[in-house]
Amino acid sequence: MNIEREYDVIIIGAGPGGSGAAFSAAKAGMRVLVLEKRQEIGAPKRCAEGLSMSAMKRMGIERDDLWVRREIIGATIYSPNGKYVRVDYRDGPEGYILERKVFDKCLAEKAVEAGAKVLAKAEVTRLIKEAGKICGVGIDFEGEEKEIKAKVVIAADGVESKIAREAGLDTTLKLVDIASGAQFEMTNVDIDPDRIEMYFGNEIAPGGYVWIFPKGEKTANIGIGVRKPYAKGKAIDYLKRFIESRPGLRKGSIIEVNSGGVPVGGLMESMVTDNLIVVGDAAHQVNPIHGGGMGEAWVGGRLAGEVASEAIKANDFSKGFLKKYNKRWWEKRGNKLKKLVKLREVMESLSDDDLNWLIDYLKGEDLIEFARSSGFGKFAKILKKKPKLIKLARKLV
C-alpha cells in the first residue's frame, strides 16, 4: 500500500461524512487520505437505509441503480391505536431505500475520483501531537504501528466519536439525546412495498418509533429507536414484541441483524479545535425527528473539507480559522436541526391518548412540512385545540 508519510488532510472514517469531506478537500487540490477501521466500507450498517429526495438534492448526487433498492412514493404514520395518516407524493418518488454498503462505497469512489486516497482496515488508534498541536494520526495497519502526518485531521468516526474526545471536545451524548436502535432486515414479510411506515406510541417505542422501510416486494428493514429515559427495556425486545404482534411480520425470516446508537440532539456549538474538525454522527449532525444522518453527514463533511482546504491555503490551522466551519454548518443546517430538536421535545411529551387524538387533525402534507422544519405554527395551532396541550404548543412558536 503506497501510503505517504504526510498528507494535507487525514480523514478518520469512510462513511458519508468522511467521503464528503474527502471529496471536497480533494477537489480543492489537497492531498487527502481517508482511513476506515472496518474491513468493508458501509458494513455492518447502522441505518434504516432511507434517503429522501430533498436530502439527495442537498448532497448534490444523482440516483444510481447500483444502490437503489426501492423507490418510495409516500409514507404512512400510525398512532398508537392503529389509526394512520398517509401522504403520497405527486411528482415522482420522494426518496429511496438504499443498499447502504453499495452506497457508501460509491461515495468513497467519488472521493477517490476527486483525487483522495482511501484505505480500509486501517484503524486510527490515536492522534499524534507536536508542541501540543495535533499533527497527524497513529494507525494500526496490518498489525504494524505507523504514524502519518497531516495539517488538518477530520474526525468522521461515527457516533463513538473517540477522536474528538481525545482532542478535548466533549462529544459524549446525554441519554436523552441518543436513541438506542435495533433492526432486522427481514424477507417474506407482508408490507407496503412502496411507502415507508412509521409507528408511534409510548408502549410501542418510547421516545422513538418503529419503522418499516421496504427494500423489495417482500423484504424490508424493520427497526426501532427508543430512548432510555422513557424505555423500560432493551430496544431489541420492543422490536421483537412489535413483530410478534403482527402475523404478516412474524412469519418472515431474518436475513440481517443490526443495532446502533443514533444521535437525536446534542447539536454542538463548536465542532473544531486547533487542527481538527468533527463531522457527521461524531458531531451529532443528524435529523432529530427521524434520525436520518446520511445527507447531514455528507453536507457537514463537504463543508469541513472546504474549510480545511481554505485553512491549508492560508497556512492557518488554528481553531480561530477553522471556526468558519461552525458558522457555515449552523447557517446551512444547524439552525434547522435545532428547530427540529424543539419539535422532538414536544412530540416526546405527548401521551398515547394525545397522539391518537392528534392524528385526526393531521394531513399528509402537514407531515412533510414538519419534517422540513416548517409549519410549526400550524402544528401549535392544532395542539392548542386541546387545553392541556396549550403550554406545550407554546414551545413551538
Binding site: 463513538e160 459524549t172 451524548l173 441519554l175 432493551k234 425486545d237 443490526n258 443495532s259 446502533g260
Partner: protein, 57 residues
C-alpha cells in the same frame, strides 16, 4: 467493571458513544473496556441488544 456478552454483541459500538468516561473502544475482537470505567451503568442501560452486564470487581 462491565462484561460484554460476545454472543449477543453486534459490535455496533453504540455503548462507546454514551460512555462518559471514554472507557470503551471497539476493537477487532469486540468492545474493550479500560480501567477508566466508573461503573455508572449507562452503557448497560443503553445497549440495544442487552449485551452488557455489570459485574463486581
Amino acid at each position: 467493571m462491565i462484561e460484554i456478552d460476545k454472543k449477543k454483541c453486534l459490535r455496533c459500538s453504540a455503548c462507546v458513544g454514551v460512555c462518559p468516561q471514554s472507557a470503551l473502544t471497539l476493537k477487532e475482537h469486540g468492545i474493550e473496556c479500560s480501567e477508566n470505567c466508573n461503573k455508572c451503568g449507562i452503557c448497560f442501560n443503553f445497549c440495544p441488544v442487552g449485551a452488557i452486564r455489570m459485574v463486581k470487581k
